[in-house]
């Protein structure tokens, strides 16, 4: 059985789903190198999504902080505002080829849900999106967008009412409607072949970034930094550089209220091995294997598991995984707005925050490339509230 990255991955799912997973893998293997399929995806990515996305050099931040040059890969400038559309589009086309007329998806931040609703509207496919009720409350603009786009949005009140619970409900829907439904998973997680398919569809980010940095600098970057929720934007950009050992790859997870606080979402930093939602990988669990609650200000990072390939890359040492807490992410969010005129998603702000710490420690010739996975319009309320809370604490003399 393939479907493993070293010991990680697999397909630990109900027997009922096996046929669909096998069909998906089979069809994917058949079309992935098919010129017509690739051309179809490429054309829509160009004319509808707006690829290639720019690589933006930052000027003001390096001049203020000193240290390395900073570049942002601008996935926030895609249509719908995050990298999620790359995968949503290609998978929806694949589902259509398999003959599925209905798509179910989960969403955390709402970016994947919006992307799926958008491509379903574009391709004329029925669309159901599951979203945790807590996430829906904190990402209201995306809830409205999904509804406008014609998605049947179903709120999930089970469990912690966040991303994991939305995935759980989407899987149950899929088990019940196997015949006509494709589950359009939005990150490089879950059972084989999803981690592989999603990573492939996101690799366009790394391919473009690699060419663009060569064009701008005539060489590879020294560091590539990306936030890691399930791990799709990170694996997308890392894939452009995995075979270049001189490029250091950094995955940034959510430390929530603090990495030592037990209120975080950083399985690659603090987790242990287990099976979560179909895949053997690092996860957050208690001594009896129950999945632990997670905490992050960024809904897209608020997940107790991680894609199996990241677990593999951690253990092999190729990628270093670290974490950034809510406060640092909020500060980076604000700083990038003020200093460079770019409004990042709270998820992406974790990668930015790490880069802001890293760059000043490096020499001026060095290059740090950050994947700006999405834009922060969806996060305005959350972020402003959070920043006001921080300001209040500072006024009260609490060190933040």
């Amino acid at each position: 059985m393939n479907g493993f990255f070293g010991q990680f991955g697999g397909a630990f799912v109900a027997e009922t789903l096996i046929r669909n997973l096998e069909e998906l893998e089979h069809e994917y293997e058949r079309v992935k190198d098919d010129v017509n399929f690739r051309n179809e995806v490429a054309a829509i990515l160009k004319h509808f999504v707006g690829r290639p996305t720019p690589l933006t050099p930052l000027h003001r931040i390096p001049s203020k902080l000193g240290g390395a040059k900073l570049y942002l890969k601008r996935e926030d400038l895609t249509h719908t505002g995050a990298h999620k559309i790359n995968n949503a589009l290609a998978q929806a086309l694949l589902a259509k080829k398999i003959g599925k007329q209905r798509i179910v998806a989960e969403t955390g931040a709402g970016q994947h849900g919006v992307a799926v609703a958008t491509v379903c509207s574009l391709l004329g496919i029925e669309c159901v999106v599951y979203m945790g009720a807590v996430d829906a409350a904190r990402q209201a603009p995306n809830v409205q967008r999904m509804k406008l786009l014609g998605a049947d949005l179903r709120l999930v009140h089970a469990g912690q009412q966040t991303l994991k619970d939305a995935i759980g409900e989407a899987i149950r829907d899929w088990i019940t409607n196997v015949h006509d439904t494709h589950y359009l998973l939005g990150s490089a997680v879950g059972p084989h072949p999803f981690p592989k398919i999603v990573a492939d569809f996101q690799s366009i980010i790394g391919q473009e970034a690699r060419e663009q940095i060569f064009e701008a600098e005539g060489r590879l970057p020294d560091y590539v930094v990306a936030c890691v929720g399930g791990g799709s934007n990170a694996i997308g950009i890392f894939n452009g550089f995995l075979d270049d050992p001189e490029v250091k790859l950094i995955g940034v997870q959510a430390a929530g209220e603090g990495i030592e606080s037990n209120k975080h979402a950083a399985p690659l930093v603090k987790g242990s091995l287990g099976i979560v939602q179909g895949s053997f990988t690092y996860m957050l669990q208690d001594a009896y294997g129950q999945i632990l609650e997670t905490h992050s200000i960024a809904p897209g990072l608020d997940y107790p598991g991680v894609g199996p390939q990241h677990s593999f890359l951690k253990d092999s040492g190729r990628v270093e995984y670290t974490s950034i807490n809510d406060r640092e992410a909020l500060k980076a969010f604000e700083y990038l707005c003020r200093t460079e005129g770019i409004l990042p998603a709270l998820e992406s702000s974790h990668a930015v925050a790490y880069a802001l710490k890293l760059a000043p420690t490096l020499s001026e010739e060095m290059i740090v490339l950050v994947n700006l996975s999405g834009r922060g319009d969806k996060d305005m309320n959350q972020a402003i509230e959070g920043l006001e809370r921080l300001a209040q604490l500072e006024l009260e003399g609490v060190t933040v």
Binding site: E15, T16, R19, I175, T176, N177, G278, G289, Q290, I291
Partner: protein, 271 residues
């Protein structure tokens, strides 16, 4: 011959189907859980499927999800499940008991340690809905030497080729999922069910038990006419949920008894 195989053989002699009852340990609470399980055994269940409650049960519908969450919140864990089996065995319950639970509960405990302790407690086998046979080799290697049965699923979506491989790996019985979906009470059984069972019958000599959606005595009667066992879970949980604390044990006894009396093998006209 394992306790499970013996049970099916004896029932076959009597021309009866097996009644297999699912209940999570610790439901509705830890105080009465053990006595409810004993009541189920005493009222005629032929095999007991003891749920090791997991808070994220992806193959279960709302009824079992809720029951398992309640059991987890009551503090139920795998150690308590093992202890419960030990106590049931000590009090003379000889009914085959299989653990039904999700991969990660077992993996976190350690498969080697689990297998040894399960045998010592008196567990006969495992049903793991998120462990398809293709992923199960390491598990079979740990469980088989202890004589534990590992029971695999067949679904209406399982291809014939795949079914041929699954039936080779299973022991005890095969769990035939009546319909694509999650667990939960349903009004009627799918029309394709007898054909599905008939087809598996061509491929395996293992006993075939049907689960998912079997909700009342009529369903049990129908399933018993073409399969070797009927599995009931959500329907019993609903009985427990609706009962008062004074009557719950009595209600459970009455319900299980009623289901058991429907397992005599008779030809059933489908309406």
């Amino acid at each position: 011959m394992s306790r499970i195989e013996k049970t099916f053989a004896q029932l076959r002699e009597k021309e009866e189907g097996a009644l297999i009852i699912y209940i999570p340990v610790g439901y509705p609470n830890l105080d009465i859980s053990e006595s409810l399980i004993r009541a189920i055994a005493e009222s005629g269940a032929d095999i007991i499927e003891l749920g090791v409650p997991y808070a994220d049960p992806l193959a279960d519908g709302p009824t079992i999800q809720e029951a398992c969450l309640q059991a987890v919140n009551n503090g139920t864990n795998l150690d308590i499940c093992l202890e419960t089996v030990s106590k049931l065995r000590a009090s003379g319950i000889d009914t085959p008991i299989v653990f039904m639970g999700y991969c990660n509960s077992f993996l976190a405990y350690g498969l080697e340690r689990l297998a040894a302790q399960a045998v010592e407690a008196g567990v006969d086998g495992f049903i793991i809905p998120d462990l398809p046979s293709t992923m199960a080799q390491p598990w079979v290697q740990k469980f088989e030497p202890h004589g534990l049965d590992l029971i695999f699923f067949l679904a209406p979506t399982t291809s014939e080729e795949r079914a041929a491989a699954v039936v080779k790996q299973g022991s005890g019985f095969l769990y035939c999922i009546s319909v694509a979906g999650v667990t939960g009470v349903r009004q009627s059984l799918p029309n394709e069910l007898p054909g599905f069972i008939h087809q598996i019958r061509q491929q395996s000599t293992l006993p075939l038990a049907v689960g998912f959606g079997i909700s009342n005595a009529q369903h049990v009667k129908e399933v018993s006419s073409y399969a070797d066992g009927a599995i009931v879970g959500s329907a019993l949980i609903q009985v427990i949920k609706q009962a008062s604390s004074e009557t719950v044990e009595q209600d459970v006894r009455a319900f299980v008894h009623q289901l058991k009396s429907a397992t005599r093998r008779v030809a059933v006209e489908r309406v």
